[in-house]
Symmetry: C2
Subunit: 569 residues, 2 copies
């Protein structure tokens, strides 16, 4: 669509505003259909975004989008409509707020629960500098399960500043929102128990206001005017009910399935294997339980939840609590599997150290979306996990070469009895696997050359095999090893191999990953190690394959290096 | 004191129980006076602990101590009285719950806010295994600011199990408890606004019960009997008011100063320098603000809070929120200094990546108690920070050689404009400093030998200098370098030095620290690197100096290695 001309939205009539909403909705639908991205959440907040733009003055006023996946209408209204068709593609518009992209994006998000803290910080900075504008946090009800929100609410009186918290309540947090907080919000929304719960928000220093139909501009616009007025005196919580997927019947019906769309997706999903294996294992071992933080379907756990509802726990967007709960279930005699995306596991870092590994408890972390994940960009790449997990004592880190090996690692985990992390990408091939022993690598291709390649995980092994085929055409050869344990690495093999030229491939930043682990073993030897992986930058959005090639796992560069090694040898 | 004989507490009369309380109080006071440790919090819960032991059957019933620093009476009542005089010393009784120490310690803690999640996990495991016992979480009011507690409360209905949460409300969280939650609890406690707030707890699935004077056994004992009865039907929140430091007038008067005692403490504290420098800097730069998570005094920030109350924020035990708040204050134009202990910063790991470094915002992390900290043991050692911070893009990591250099780094930070972490131990010497340039090391002692030692931080530099003196007596010599930036390391110096034998010393685990960073630079050269630091285990309690010697920075071992290098050269 065309960008709105200056003032167009401010001067529009109600019917023109409704028409703008339809244009936005159409543009979002068309673009997401092609580029992938978040659909239902963005369709749900079109009217709310238009009403906020009508009422407030961005970018002078500031808006922080919690999680950030619901900012498409905002992007379309802030001068990015013409470029919007490039959404989530390399060099194109990001699917999340980016300060470098527009002054309308005042604060970057991607993970849940940060917006109230962020709005408070921006508002306090405003006060201290004697400035005057409004600061808004737009937060979904799913994030109201997250502990960070309560830490921020607890600060409202300490900071004595003014913010507007817009609670966008669609009853979903990818999975349907669960738990006590959701019930409280539902009761307020339903008008059943308003006084007590509203009183609680007010105790924290918030004035509570509400909009029943947040997809109706006729209700929204006067409510926002009133809210803006109230905000002059104190912080306000505006509780807005919206319908996720509004305007597209199939999205409204299936908001969980239409939360996000991914246009590629040729391979098989590791998550499906997780669901199958865990369900099968749980049939034999009554100690097996599954824990997730609001991602049942994306992680493949639906079959487990259906087969063993009493042993399956979706605790909402509470990554830390899910981790402690898993540790304690293990302390109590169970065998918990905590499935989570790599990037979100960062939230539970202290609990992995303090609760799981400090006590050496048999929790298996099933770390999905590891490595470069692609189109969601900086905040969603899973490229730090090998580095932040490796320094933790008592933890074993496994990286399967394919889905069959992933299944074998899961089966092995049931009797392992110690903390275990298995990290895997979204997609791969089923393949076949051989017997697994903790800390032992597997030779996939032997050669008599002086070059050995240690590769961790399916992306890197596939890359090694592609390069091997090219190298062989040039009359070169090298040994390829499946480095399926990044902790402990196979010191015995590493030290006993005779190849002098050692190459490591990992789908992780180079600092603290596989390359460093193998280099530590090789210290004091005459071997020459070169590590390939990602550099010390935040990797932007694009397709996962092109990002891997561009930022660190470049097949041409690796092949060139192999030629150098070959020439030396 | 002697251990109680079996059944003694169960059969004691009220006056005998009161006498047991006095014996416990005396033993705690005497032992902490000698060994150091947590005083006021332990004195406050003596009656509560005795009443819990009288009412419940440990270790069949389970109790999880949030933070764990209030478990001394529990240890004295569970067969550890005779050994209690070894508290916090190497090989002696830990100051925190330890599963390896006693079956009465069912779950280990050290960081705040985990107990409700842990109790839920243990209780759910109990249910799934068809067992029957009670599970108790003993939580201080300070932890009720922490987001984890809300994530756990949100789970109560999801998990449909039964736990007893004992809220030990003494109005303190090292610093006085702050914020909206504290006000809500105070109002309940004062009987001013009970119905609404109690209704909220009940909405989460908890029955609310209260004890006004939790230091009075006559009130406590019947209340606990009633609670135990109520627990058969549903989860209970028992709100108990206690007085921190109860029984010792100076502790009651000054609970913040008597929270913990440290018997050593010969050196000067880095924290005092932080307070002085930041206060001086803030006088010149109105953008400077200070953020802490309930540790104003321990971090040395009292002078700043007194001089600039409007720019000083204690947000309670909310390490994550404090991190996002700091990032957002920076996004809004301020220059925040977020001071925190190394071990607690683990809680904000995702926010360091996602909020501070992802956006490249000028927040300075002042990381106190880095390295081996000693008597608090496994959960409090600050030995992971170099490893978990190094992989984060956009972050600079500085490690001062003494307090004067720490001051210089702080002054430099004001104009740095990018994310910066400065990590330092509790104590050191004032010393002197030279000009600092980001990423540049400093040669402290030059030699013509073939050996170079890179040491990061005051403990390691002092160690290098001690070893140098010994080596010189034996006619050996080596170059000593102040590796004051662990990220970026001084690649130019590292590559241009001619010494072939490279030694690194760091007060951190070896995986992912200084040694690995310098090794990466040296890859492909002929240099021989040996790294000294801590191994891949959780380091127990003891004195910091003896732990360092025992676990990785052993001066005799390093000297022996230098002799080897000397013999080779």
């Amino acid at each position: 669509m065309e960008d709105l001309v200056r003032g167009e939205l401010k001067e529009a009539s109600l019917s023109q505003l409704k028409e703008i909403c339809e244009r936005l909705r159409g543009e979002i639908f068309r673009t997401v259909s092609v580029r992938g991205g978040h659909l239902a959440s963005n369709l749900g907040v079109v009217e709310l975004t238009v009403a906020l733009y009508r009422t407030f003055n961005f970018p002078t006023d500031k808006i922080v989008f919690d999680v950030g996946h619901q900012c498409y209408a905002h992007k379309l209204l802030s001068g990015r409509a013409q470029k919007f068709s490039t959404l989530r593609s390399r060099g194109g518009i990001s699917g999340f707020p980016k300060r470098s992209e527009s002054p309308f994006d005042c604060y970057e998000t991607g993970h849940a629960g940060t917006a109230v803290s962020a709005a408070l910080g921006i508002a306090k900075a405003r006060d201290l500098q004697g400035e005057s504008f409004d600061v808004i946090a737009l937060v979904g009800d799913g994030s109201f399960n997250n502990g960070l929100i309560y830490e921020a609410l607890n600060s409202l009186k300490i900071l004595s500043t003014r913010v507007l918290i817009v609670l966008n309540d669609n009853g979903m947090s990818i999975s349907p929102t669960v738990g006590g907080t959701h019930e409280v919000l539902s009761e307020i929304k339903g008008g059943r128990a308003p006084s007590e719960d509203i009183a609680l928000f007010e105790r924290y220093g918030l004035r509570y206001m509400g909009v029943y139909n947040g997809n109706d501009l006729e209700e929204l616009l006067p409510a926002l005017e009133e809210t803006k007025e109230a905000l002059r005196a104190q912080s306000v919580l505006l509780h807005v009910t919206t319908r996720k997927g509004q305007g597209y019947a199939f999205c409204e019906r299936e908001p969980e399935r239409t939360h996000g769309f991914s246009p590629n997706g040729a391979g098989t999903e590791y998550s499906a294997a997780l669901g199958e294996e865990l369900t099968a294992m749980a049939g034999e071992d009554p100690r097996i339980v599954a824990v997730t933080a609001a991602m049942t379907d994306a992680l493949g756990l639906r079959p487990f939840f259906q087969a063993f509802p009493e042993r399956a726990f979706d605790v909402g967007i509470c990554e830390e609590h899910a981790c402690v709960l898993s540790a304690a279930l293990a302390a109590g005699g169970m065998r918990p599997y905590y499935a989570i995306y790599s990037t979100f596991l960062q939230r539970a870092y202290d609990e992995i150290i303090h609760d799981i590994c400090g006590q050496g408890l048999p929790v298996t972390l099933c770390i999905d979306r590891a490595g470069v994940t692609g189109a969601d960009g900086e905040t969603h790449q899973g490229v730090f996990d090998l580095s932040y997990l490796a320094p933790i004592p008592n933890l074993t880190i496994a990286v399967p070469k394919n889905i069959a090996e992933f299944r074998a690692m899961l089966r092995m985990s049931a009797s392992y009895g110690k903390p275990l992390a298995i990290r895997y990408p979204r997609e791969g091939k089923e393949g076949a696997s051989n017997a697994i022993e903790i800390g032992k690598f597997e030779i996939l291709h032997s050669s008599t050359s002086d070059i050995i390649v240690y590769a961790a995980g399916e992306r890197c092994i596939a890359l090694a095999e592609r390069i091997l085929a090219l190298a062989q055409k040039e009359g070169m050869d090298f040994t390829v090893v499946n480095a399926r344990f990044v902790k402990p690495v196979d010191s015995q093999m590493i030290l006993s191999r005779r190849e002098k030229q050692v190459i490591t491939l990992e789908d992780n930043v180079l600092t603290g990953g596989l390359g460093d682990a193998i280099a530590r073993v090789l210290r004091g030897t005459e071997k020459n190690l070169r590590a390939f992986g990602y550099p010390d930058i935040f990797i932007p959005h694009g397709s996962a394959a092109e990002l891997a090639e561009e930022f660190g796992l470049n097949s041409e560069e690796i092949l060139r290096y192999i030629r150098e090694c070959h020439a030396r040898g």
